[in-house]
Amino acid sequence: MQDSEPAATSAFAIRQVSKRYGSVVAIDDLSLDFEAGTTTALIGSSGSGKSTVLRLLLGLEWPDRGTVSIGGHPLEPGQVLQLRRRVGYVIQEGGLFPHLTAQGNLALLPHYLGWDAARIGQRAKELAELTHLPLAALERYPAELSGGQRQRVALMRGLMADPDALLLDEPLGALDPIVRHELQDELKRIFAELNKTVILVTHDLPEAAWFAERLVLMRKGAVIQDGCFEDLRDRPADAFVARFVAARRQLPRASR
């Protein structure tokens, strides 16, 4: 994520990118710039292309048109492995490897990076505390974990090697309120202290607003509005944005 050229602090950028799957337009002439050291929340309707954006940024998909730039340089196939190693990516379904225990999943990349067992164990323990995962669960296989436990292991795997950047695709969706709340606190602190570049996909508006100064609201492969939460709430670009912000189930009022 070296600085350079036009957008001096742009860590990730896509310029006029389109991506189709057969007749399905997933991304439609989209341009977005993510500054280094900031947290951006990607929100929007289901199927609007949020996950696709993350995949494009990691070279897991290549655009039909337009360019993807990393640290100001266009992304080339030869660089993707390097890039991916420095970016923590947590996919929507977790994608844990069934043949490895939770611990084994966590150790994969650090092991390759040459960490010794003690360091890996130490880091895993640290992250288990952070995510409130029982240490015993680390010895279990994905099929032996509950949904929320799996999601936490996936998040831990993304954080293991302490990457500069994090692309998180609904990383907290299956967690109970207490763990989720505490994790939101902790993660926000970490992102700020360690100056991480974070792109977070979430359907939870309060979560998006808590983490990110900047919210990018997508629909049908395009950005509808890009700004802080107050912009969206107070100056919605269109009726859809207004509905999106308003669509929240409230707790029953206290009867008193």
């Binding site: 492995l81 991916r84 190693r85 420095r86 996919i91 043949h99 994905p142």
Partner: protein, 498 residues
């Protein structure tokens, strides 16, 4: 298939193969794949025993090159050889008819000693029916010149080799027109029945007395001399002088007739080689060598297992990478799978025959052939296993940024392990079956009694091979279930709730 599994497998078959290369205290005698050589090997062994020296005879070790290399490397200490083979095949820049003293001088720097001629020359010869030869007054090849009407039948090899019929005809200026190629085994029959008048043969063939034939004198010395000798490691002159003395003691004692007789006893009357050798030396065969059923079984099991594990081990080492490449590169994959498929259509006998020029005779060509046959199931199942990995798992593996090799070893191969192991198991079991054919090229194993049993119509013998082969197949399967159980990650063995 994870890395530990591979290492483990590798370890197992290395252990089994290593003893081949190991060298222990007794004197090791080798012999080639044909009766005469085995008899000469037995003669050496029994003579050694007579001299009070512990000697082991590794019979039918393979082709000339194998024995020669084994001798140079010290894997064996002595074996019977022919001077013609030394001058034509083994030594370079030696005159074709070099005598034994000059050969001895040439071998010395290699650390190899050579006895004097054992007393016979096993070269190509031209044979006729004895009565016919007598009637026509033919004793020497030159005499053939006077009988231009004789019908000649030669083995295809002899017909075509430049030092065979074409050269012979030139040297002796032979006039015969009716010359046809035929199978060597048929040639004797044809000669005996009068369908042809002369054939090519080896001068000590057992069939010469059997069919009452006469080998004509090579009066112009066209055929190179193939004097029988023993080669031995010169080192033995220090370590086991008694053994060298015993070998030299055999020199000059075996003439062609004696050798033919011994060959005939073994080949036509089914007498065991050790008995023939002991007879010759005026001894009784040592009983402990007529091993019982169990020790025969043990030996064959070792041989068979060696064939299966070695070929399978090699196949695993090649087929898994090929399967990986096939899964990565679509076109290449088609080609690789196509080629391994074509290999399967080569009939086993033909395959073994193709291997002989490359590996000689014995266990190695069998291993090579079995190796080729084992490729397809493993390549294909590796391919299927890798291609069948769920996309979300591939994606998350890719997203980690691991280099392709690490990703393959740590993620993809383990996920495909079940399919790969199924392929290996199939290959292993087919291998156990096909290895029974390896006895055809002297690789031993359970095929030996099966083939003999089929030829002699002896159900008992057939079962002596077939039953242990079936059991070995079960054992191999069981072993692999064990490996599978041990090495399939437990996470993949978790059974779904039903």
């Amino acid at each position: 298939m994870n890395r530990r599994l591979l290492t483990r497998l590798l370890g197992v078959w290395t252990c089994i193969l290593l003893p081949i290369a190991g060298h222990a205290v007794p004197v090791y005698i080798g012999s080639k794949q044909f009766t005469e050589s085995v008899i000469l090997g037995e003669l050496a062994r029994v003579s050694a025993r007579q001299a009070g020296i512990d000697a082991v005879h590794k019979r039918q070790l393979g082709g000339t090159r194998i024995l020669w290399r084994a001798l140079l490397q010290g894997d064996i200490d002595a074996y019977p050889e022919y001077t013609g083979t030394l001058t034509h095949e083994l030594l370079k820049n030696v005159p074709a008819n070099a005598d034994i003293p000059s050969l001895r001088a040439r071998l010395k720097p290699l650390g190899i000693g050579i006895t004097d001629s054992l007393g016979f020359d096993n070269t190509y010869a031209i044979g006729m029916r004895a009565d016919e030869a007598k009637r026509l007054g033919i004793a020497r090849i030159s005499d053939l010149r006077r009988h231009s009407g004789l019908r000649l039948g030669f083995s295809n090899e002899f017909m075509n080799r430049n030092d065979g019929w074409p050269g012979l005809r030139r040297r002796y200026d032979l006039p015969q027109k009716d010359v046809r190629g035929m199978d060597h085994a048929l040639a004797y029959r044809a000669l005996a029945s009068g369908a042809v008048d002369a054939i090519d043969l080896y001068s000590t063939d057992a069939e010469i007395p059997y069919y009452h034939l006469r080998a004509l004198d090579d009066d112009l010395h066209y055929f190179p001399r193939y004097e029988a000798v023993y080669l031995y490691r010169l080192q033995l002159e220090q370590n086991a002088p008694g053994f060298v003395a015993a070998l030299n003691g055999l020199a000059g004692r075996i003439d062609e007739k004696t050798m033919r007789g011994m060959n005939a006893e073994v080949k036509l009357q089914g007498v065991k080689e050790d008995v023939v050798a002991a007879d010759f030396l005026g001894l009784r065969a040592d009983a402990d060598d007529h091993s019982g059923l169990w020790s025969r079984l043990l030996q064959r099991t070792v041989e068979h297992t060696k064939l299966v594990l070695a070929s399978l081990g090699l196949a695993v080492l090649l087929a898994i990478p090929l399967g990986v490449l096939a899964a990565r590169l679509r076109r290449f994959g088609q080609v690789v799978i196509g080629l391994t498929g074509i290999l399967q259509t080569v009939p086993s006998l033909a395959m073994f025959v193709f291997m002989i020029p490359l590996f000689g005779i014995g266990a190695w060509p069998a291993i090579a052939a079995l190796f080729l046959y084992s490729l397809l199931p493993i390549v294909r199942n590796t391919h299927a296993g890798l291609v069948g990995i769920a996309p979300e798992l591939s994606e998350s593996a890719a997203a980690l940024g691991l280099p392709p090799g690490v990703r393959l070893r740590r993620v993809e191969l383990p996920l495909a392990a079940r399919s790969i192991l199924a392929g290996i198991k199939t290959a292993a079991v087919i291998n156990v079956g096909t290895a029974t054919l390896a006895a055809l090229i002297g690789a031993g194993g359970y095929g030996q009694p099966i083939l003999t049993g089929i030829r002699l119509d002896d159900i008992g013998l057939i079962l002596e091979g077939a039953v242990p082969a079936a059991l070995l197949a079960l054992l191999v399967q069981g072993m692999f279930e064990g490996i599978e159980h041990r090495f399939t990650p437990r996470g993949l063995r978790l059974v779904a709730r039903q």
